[in-house]
Structures are given as C-alpha cells and as structure tokens.
Symmetry: C2
Subunit: 374 residues, 2 copies
C-alpha cells in the first residue's frame, strides 16, 4: 500500500539535497567546532556559514541568529528571557497558541506570579487585534506579547507587522512562534518590529532536532542553557553540526523555490477544498481558510457520526496520514485546544497539511477513500 | 596528508553501523512520533525501543531514561530540578567540573542565593572524599552534590559509589556528569546511589545533538522545557528520532565491544605514556594517569619553551588533532580551568584522547612528529 502523507504541519520528509549537505558532517567532517585545530575550524566554518545563510534569508544579522534543539526550546528560551531579563510582568497571548508557548506561559505565571491575558479570538479564528491593542495599552506593567505567526492547526495567519507596531508603540516585547511560516513565507526581520522569532527545520524538509531563535539586537538577554561558550555564550552544548547545516540548506532550498512551491501547494489546498465541498455533504472549513491562512493547511470539520468519529483511524488503515490537530498534543487525546477555543466542537476536525511532494493524484485517492468511508 | 585524530574526549567519529541504523529515520521513516497514525507509531516505537535499549545497558528502568539535546542540556536540567523541585539549597561541587556544571551552578547560586562549596582537589587531581563527607555532613540545608564520574581533561575517575553512599547517609541529592564514562565503562544504576546521570552519544561514536538524562525513580522532578507531551511530559519538543536511534545503537555497540575496546585503547594510552617518557625529556603526566583514570585520556605537560608553546598549532599543521583542554572552553583561550586548579601551571598541557579507531602506527607517527617539533 502506498502511503499518502498529508500531515506536513506535523513534520516533513527530509529533502534529499538537505541530506546530501548533511552527509559530510555525519561522516568525515566530525570535528568539534569548539576545537582550535583546523579540523575543528572546518565545522566551525560550516556552522557560521549556516548562520550567515539563515540571517541573509530572514534579513537579520548573523549575530541575531541562534541555533537550538528545536522550536520548543526556542519558544521557551524567548519567553523565559522576556520575563527574567527584560522585565516583562504581563504576558498577553491567546488560547490558540502552540503548547510550547501556552505551557511555558503557565509555568512562568506560577513561578513569577505574572499577569497573563488571553486575547479574544474572532469568529473565524483570528486574534482580535483591536482587543490586543487595548490590552497592551491598558497594561501598567511591561508587556510580553506572544502570538504565533500562523496557527498550526487551522492555518490562520497573524498580521505580525500590525502586532509589531502595537508593541512598539507601548514598549512591549513581541515574540512570535514562526514555526509554521519560516521556510514557507518570506520573513523580513530587518524592520525590527519583532524581538523574538522561532523556527524548526523539520517543518520545511530539514532535519528534526534543530531549531532557530532570532533575537533582535535591540535587546540583550542571557542564556537558558549554561556551559561552554557555544553560540556566542548564548546556548551551551556541542553544536549539532549536521542539524545546523541541514537547517540552513533546507531554508535555502525553500527560499529558492518559494514561489513555485507556494503556487503548487496552494493549488492543492484549493482543489481539496472545492472537491470536499462538492463530494462530502456538511463539511465545514475551520478558520479563515480562504482568507489570511497558510496555503499549506486545510482544517475540515466533518459532520459527527459513527463513521466520522473513527475517520482518522480508518484513513490510517488506508495508508493516509492526516491528523486531528497538532501532533504535539495528539498523544494526550484530549482533542484540539485550538478547535475548542473556536466554537462549540460539533464536527470531527481533520487537518490536511500539504507539501511540495504531494500531488493532485494523491488528493483524488484521498477523496475517493473519504467517499467510501463516510 | 593523513589526519591523526587524538581528541576523542571532545568528540568521536560516527560508527558506520550507527549511521546505518539512523539512515531509515533520515529518509523514509520520518513520521512525527506524537502522531497517532501507524506511520507515527513506527517512529514512536523506535524511540521507545531506544529507551529500552539504553535502560537495559545502564540497568535502569525505561521510565528513568529521558532523551535531551545533549550532555549540557541534561546537566542543566538535573541541576535546575535539584534546586527548584527537590529543595536543594547547598550545592557541593568542585573546581574541575565541566563548564556545563560550573556555569549552571554559578547561575543558580546568583538566582536563588544558594550556598556553593567546592571540594578540595588532591595533589593528583582527585576529589578529596573525606573533605566531601565533612562538607555534606556539616550542611544545615539540603545538599546537592554534583561531581563528574571522570574528568574530561585529566581523566581522573571518581569513586561514585562512595560518593553515592555519602549522599545517601545525609539525604543529599547526587548528580554525576557521566558524559566521559557512558559507553566506556559499565554503569549500574540499579543500585540507586545516584539520582541524576548524564550522557552524550557523540562521545562514544554516536551522533551529536542528542543526550541522556537518567533520573532515578526515587525522586520526582518537573520539566525544564515546556510544551508538548514528549518524553512523558518531561522534555517537550518533537523528538530527534535519528539522534535517539543513533544514541541507542552507539551505546549498544559500545557495550558489546567494551572489553576489547577497553583493552585496545588502554594499550594505546600506556604505549604513548611509556614512549613519551623515553623520548621527550621533562614530560609530566597530569592527574592520576596510571591509577584511577580513564583509559581514553592521557594529559601531558610538556616543559614550557618557545617550541612547546606553539605545539598545538604545530601538531595541527602536521594533521594531528589534540587539544589543550576541553573543547568547550578552548574558544575562550584562557587555558584550562582544570589544569589551573591542580598545580601552578608551569608546563604546556596537551590532552591526548584515544578511540577504538586509533592505532599504534598513528602514535608512532605522532611521537616522531613530537621529537622533530620539540
């Protein structure tokens, strides 16, 4: 049975060219980048070249780019630093953030007795930016705003420039989890309306186990992990060289092919939406799916009945990989906190998320399977 | 020019069999282990099998094994948990620990106004265990003892069972950085005299970017990184599957070949020591090199003169990789904090560290080069 993988918001397959770029560092070029001999300097150079590549693509300076073990570590590091180093005592976030943000905020709230506000969500799943502006303006303490660039479950895109402007006006710190947009949209961080941005290369055909933290050079923070002087004393630990090299290569490829991949993937999303509307009665699309939304994600609620309640499992048995929400919370089996935040959960939500490797033929097969199953 | 790599305490080349075990997860088996479909369960199974393998080898239960991004993260996590979750207010450590411990202790000391004591070091580089016992017994607060199993620079081995007994007697928490011994010595954690142990697979021919934290099931701690429910809610973030699979495979291979690798590497160390004594006048071996010491490390002080001061660089130009101390601090160029702690720094210290891939012929070449250079 051929597998059809439509869960690219959870993770993506490694691009063969990324693997090729990583391979020398997995075999012959294994020197510790902190070593002073030339064999270590080779890998040091690879790490610094990766940093320059990434910085160039997001229009940051290399000094603003830090490599971590993943998006979660990056989110944790940003939030901890905003509270511990930048004096933020009021966190404004939303109920539809990734758990890497929500659980870290809850942890910090308890630990430091912080004030936490959750911006209301509009009917189509957007952050209510007018309410956000009021919340930020009305705060008597220094504010950290943490709002993701794109929601990983429903795909809604945030107007980060407007959020950045609101934050700037009130001297608030702005952290955005850009895990779902880095490598899929062009970020221009040179405008300085954002203090912290995060990424994970396994979301754009790079390796797992490596992440990005962008820290604007307008702020000064301290490390979360202490030890050796790696990452200019900001993130201790022997560098995951293959991961870092793979991260940069994956981002470079994504950037080079952005227009063509976007067009291809968007056409898949629209094709799927149109076909579902025609062929499956009663489907609802969650979020602002045909407006400000990721071209990679289509979140569909199927009418709840005996058959749709087992739909994920039934699709799995047909070799079709889709998810009910974020992978990071699916183990908990509590359903999606994002969908719960949106509306009374009547339907059975399924997230289809597409990549450059998907084809219309695959979607046709999935649609036929859905018709059979429902 | 053939490179001769004698810096295996900094990092080691990946064993080709480890790479082979990782390869499927770098290519076809890329599913997110938190996904509920079978393609995710495959990688979940790989992670849990890796955990079982590691647990079996160190005689722990799988529930005591957590995968992290490396030895540094593991050390940080253990120390933070001991202070924040286990109520330790007095840290007893030593001046010759790795910076992943020393700098984290300094950070925690400032943050929580902790008491920190440094156990004196004996003339041959050992922790003075009688002094340790007095310090632990004399503390009015709950104690965390953090002492590494083997020193990464001079190779001295700690009697961790005795330290564990001292800690047990006084209800102290015992953390040991076992980064230099895991995969090189058989650890038996079933005896429960240790609460936290750490490891990094790139020290025993596994991948970089993955680490181990052992947490005894006699204590309960909270996560340092918050987010998804990975690692049974103890370490959030999408799992670095290839890293984890590689970690377990590397440890398995190390364990299978432990006796023969130990014999081979020890014979190299002794051969090198004997030859250096014969052929380079005035050399001194640092630490308890022919006693309780890593068979992988030989730390040599050369008489200081114009030629030896440039020795690292001169050896590098001949394709010979050795280090002046720990890789993690060599970028700082302040010399070794370990050697400074031992004795007035007269000689020029060079650490030779050996692996199963080194040969006597390589050492002969290094010895000839040294004779020429000095």
């Amino acid at each position: 049975m051929n597998r059809i993988y439509l869960d690219n918001a959870a993770t993506t397959p490694l691009d063969a060219r990324v693997m090729e770029a990583m391979l020398p560092y997995l075999t012959t070029h294994f020197g510790n980048p902190s070593s002073i001999y030339s064999f270590g300097r080779e890998t040091r150079l690879a790490v610094e070249n990766a940093r320059k590549t990434v910085a160039g693509i997001v229009k940051a300076s290399p000094g603003e780019i830090f490599f971590t073990s993943g998006g979660t570590e990056s989110d944790n590091m940003a939030l901890v630093a905003a509270v511990e180093d930048l004096g933020c005592r009021h966190i404004i976030t939303s109920a539809v953030e990734h758990h890497a943000v929500l659980h870290t905020v809850e942890h910090l709230q308890k630990k430091y007795s912080l004030t936490v506000s959750y911006v209301p969500i509009t009917i189509n799943g957007h952050i209510d930016l007018d309410q956000l502006a009021l919340l930020v303006a009305g705060s008597s303490e220094r504010v950290l705003v943490s709002l993701m660039h794109a929601n990983n479950e429903i795909g809604n895109l945030l107007d980060i420039e407007r959020v950045g402007a609101i934050c700037q006006e009130h001297n608030a710190i702005f952290h955005s989890d850009t895990v779902q947009t880095l490598g899929h949209y062009r970020l221009d961080l040179s405008k300085k309306w954002i203090h912290f941005a995060t990424g994970a290369s396994h979301k754009f055909h790079g390796p797992k186990g490596v992440g990005l933290l962008y820290v604007s050079d307008s702020i000064a923070i301290r490390p979360m992990l202490h030890g050796g002087g790696q990452e200019r004393n900001m993130r201790a630990g022997t560098e995951n060289i293959y991961g870092i090299v793979g991260f940069a290569k994956a981002l470079e490829l994504a950037d080079q092919q952005l227009e063509q991949d976007t067009a291809h993937i968007l056409s898949l999303k629209l094709y799927m939406a149109e076909a579902l509307q025609k062929r499956v009665p009663g489907v609802i699309f969650n979020g602002d799916w045909d407006g400000q939304s990721l071209y990679t994600v289509l979140n569909v609620s199927f009418p709840r009945n005996e058959k749709t309640e087992m739909l994920l499992m039934a699709l799995d048995m047909q070799g079709i990989c889709v998810s009910g929400g974020s992978a990071c919370s699916s183990g908990a089996d509590l359903g999606s906190h994002v969908i719960r935040a949106l509306r009374p959960a009547t339907g059975v939500p399924i997230r289809f998320s597409f990549s450059k490797y998907n084809t219309r033929e695959q979607l046709d097969h999935v649609l036929r399977t859905l018709e059979t199953l429902i």
